[in-house]
Point group: C7
Chain length 70, copies 7
């Protein structure tokens, strides 16, 4: 299964995205493109010492390390 | 919803942009292109220890981590 | 043997993937593309001090250092 | 307004450019290209501990973080 | 002699590959592509403090510093 | 004035080039290409603690921060 | 003189190549391509604390800082 196919299967589902700066974003995958730019809704952001709700986020693909199915 | 579609919905609205150097820019999204270069107006810049007003900014897309709807 | 041919031979087999952040992902290679974006199933993630099961992961190719046959 | 349109509006005007190495260049924007390579005239360069006049500079776009209207 | 020609001459021969994370991989060059992605067989991996046998490896080209003939 | 036009005006003139590793190269600009790879002649290299003459240098554009007219 | 023209003039001559990891490679330039991937023969490698002979090397262009004529 191709990576973009796998992401397609996760549309409108809960995922967690790890970024290069070690932030973990948990939310609903609303969209993505070929560069792995992503739209996440209802996001909870988990940094080293902090957790906060942040609504809808557009993530630039170059910062993405990996996407995990929840 | 594609990431650039999401950005389009935020045109002329308040967003906050996190940069790789951990600066947080809050302002009105005036424009963007496919590379996520962006134009922000009425910007307030929040660094580690400082906050200041900086008018209109062009941000090079390669520095963008994520864009949050306000 | 070309690198993508080698990856093809490992489809549905156990591999371990080393990422730039030194995380080691062990799982079944479910898919990949030309950019070395990968889908791994039944993943066990080994960080510096932690091990945990994480189901299915999409890894962005730019973070991959190397892939080892198990 | 597209980012390159915004830069065009700043041609022959004062701008300050923040680089990835934290240097701040203030000067007159004499030109730029699609990659955000830029020509700045009458530049004053502000490093961490130093300020100096440096005439005309060509900046490679990959080092640019953001451009601020003065 | 072009770099890819030189790599071609080393096919099925012993090489050592230095990676950006300072790991040294010694093994038989089984394949490579234009991006310098490589397949190495019978690999011995030499990290800062450790040596271990790791079978066959696919290395992503972006991590390669240089390849030495043995 | 486009950045490559500006560089053209500096052909066979003295420039100083700042690299990402903070080295400052002073010399005569003998040539450059679209990627900002450059040829410098009669170079004096100024590192953090050292200065030395180094004849003719080809600099890979990806290391260039900025070019200053002398 | 274009950078690749300059490299061409150095074919089969002694050069020293500085890499991003501060290693200095001295040897005979046997070949190169548009990406500045290079083949060096009869190489002497000078690291921070060590010097050693290493035969023929293929260097990935992305690691090259500059090439100096000897």
């Amino acid at each position: 299964m191709l990576p973009n196919k796998m992401l397609e299967e996760n549309l409108n589902k809960k995922v967690s995205i790890l970024l290069k700066d070690n932030t973990l974003l948990e939310g609903t995958l609303s969209g993505f493109d070929d560069y792995m730019n992503m739209v996440l809704a209802d996001v909870e952001e988990n940094g080293e010492n902090t957790t906060r709700k942040v609504g809808t986020i557009v993530v630039r693909g170059s910062n993405v390390v990996r996407v995990v199915q929840k």
